[in-house]
């Protein structure tokens, strides 16, 4: 028995993320088509339209709008029990250009019960900084940086019983170059009642290790439960744990419902502080809430309606899906500096003393609507 290529399908997604002053909307299109019996090609085009007045932006900049477009092309070649894949991803933003190539090989063995995959990814990124000159947004002519990212990935998936599958994955990522935001600031005490701000300074390398394990089990009736755990650690001192549980339940011959809950927690980076004791306190300074200590819960539901159209015999199956997720993030050491610094340069009526502001919380609504066609 030889390996199998992914099925032919086309998907069109519309998404909306709304939370913490940030709104991101956009479409994504994914088409996958086989060419003969041994080749499958996939193409994806994805647009993020971002309108941001996040808490970081509110305390140190002006609200902005931006657009990121991403295109990718990949090919899978099936040869006996091995599948060779190559691909290229191009992502363009006004201040960030990313080009990523990837290659992987996977092999089925032990009566096709086990699949082992190895992948490599290389990303070349260019970082710019937008400034306004005469009211027009342009790249700062004095700022252009680069970043290279490499990733090695090993995964094993295993059929355990006729109702259960498991998979494990390990990925090492190393980044080298400009890794901080060219916009964000850290804050520091000038005296116990006064604070100042200075630009973030990050190390120019970061290496991370992530290992994940997931399993899925077919229940005695037609439904499935799954679980995932991921452990993460990196050279910046961040340690993260991710856990996810899911339940898929078809209803009748047309509907599939899915419920999913995800928990995430992490410790802060070694050089992260909400407010530093003084200016230039250390070689590296960060106040990115992504590097703070926090935990997050995301829970969501998906409803899918599957159908066939007699007039289109070439369409094996069509599906309409709607997914809604609610995300809530509680920060342990990232304070809402709007209570002391104000918003977009306007001080609050009754500013709080620096370091005494309430801890920041983020709630977000994530909506997705997608149409899928299987050929």
């Amino acid at each position: 028995m030889a390996g199998v290529l992914p099925e032919d399908r086309a998907d069109l997604l519309y998404f909306r993320y709304d939370g913490g002053g940030v709104e991101i909307t956009g479409p994504s299109v994914l088409v996958r088509k086989s060419i003969g019996e041994h080749v499958s090609v996939a193409a994806n085009y994805y647009i993020d339209m971002v309108s941001s007045a996040s808490v970081d932006v509110e305390t140190s900049a002006s609200p902005y709008e931006d657009e990121r477009t991403q295109g990718s092309l990949s090919m899978d070649f099936l040869h006996g029990k091995s599948t060779y894949s190559i691909g290229y991803v191009n992502s363009d933003e006004s201040d960030y250009l990313a080009k990523t190539m990837f290659a992987s090989i996977s092999h089925d063995m032990f009566g096709d019960l086990t699949t082992i995959s190895f992948g490599y990814k290389n990303g070349q990124n260019e970082v710019f900084r937008n400034v306004k000159i005469d009211g027009v947004k342009v790249n700062d002519p004095n700022f252009a940086e680069e970043m290279e990212s490499k990733s090695f990935n090993l995964s094993i998936s295993q059929i355990v019983t006729k109702n259960m599958i498991m998979s494990g994955q390990y990925e090492v990522i190393t980044d080298e170059g400009w890794l901080n935001s060219p916009y964000r600031s850290v804050r520091f005490f000038i005296d116990p009642f006064t604070q100042g701000q200075q630009a973030e300074v990050y190390p120019n390398t970061r290496s991370s290790n992530a290992a994940s394990f997931r399993t899925k089990y077919f229940l005695p009736y037609r439904a499935a439960i799954d679980g995932m755990y991921r452990f993460y650690t990196d050279t910046w001192g961040v340690v993260g744990h991710t856990g996810e549980l899911g339940y898929v339940h078809p209803l009748g011959s047309h509907w599939i419902f899915e419920a999913r809950a995800r928990y995430y927690t992490q410790t802060k980076a070694d050089f992260y502080e909400d407010i530093f004791p003084r200016a230039d306190y250390a070689n590296f300074l960060a106040r990115d809430k992504e590097l703070a200590t926090y935990d997050a819960v995301t829970a969501g539901l998906t409803a899918t309606y599957e159908f066939k159209i007699d007039r289109f015999p070439w369409l094996a199956k069509g599906a309409l899906s709607f997914r809604y997720d609610y995300m809530t993030v509680n920060y342990d050491d990232f304070r809402d500096a709007r209570f002391s610094l104000g918003s977009f340069g306007t001080l609050p009526d009754d500013p709080l003393q620096p370091g005494t502001e309430p801890l920041y919380k983020l709630n977000a609504h994530i909506m997705q609507f997608y149409i899928s066609a299987y050929f």
């Binding site: 998907d11 994806n44 991403q70 191009n90 933003e93 201040d95 960030y96 990313a98 916009y183 992504e290």
Partner: protein, 74 residues
Amino acid sequence: MRIRGLILITLAVLSAGCSSIEPWVKPYDRENLADPIMSFTRAPISQDFLDHVFESREGSRGATGGGGGGCGCN
């Protein structure tokens, strides 16, 4: 001593397994596993989007099975 015993038993099981691994789930027994609801990523387009949402907001990255580029996080 107990650990050494466990290692020996594990090695014995593994070496026995290597000599002749018989697929214990036969191809005709995989009806449930082939059901689309058993796929880890039923909707790759949706999963890629969510992976990007999480990756650009969390310190952790990798080992999610996805692949992408760009930042979208400044």
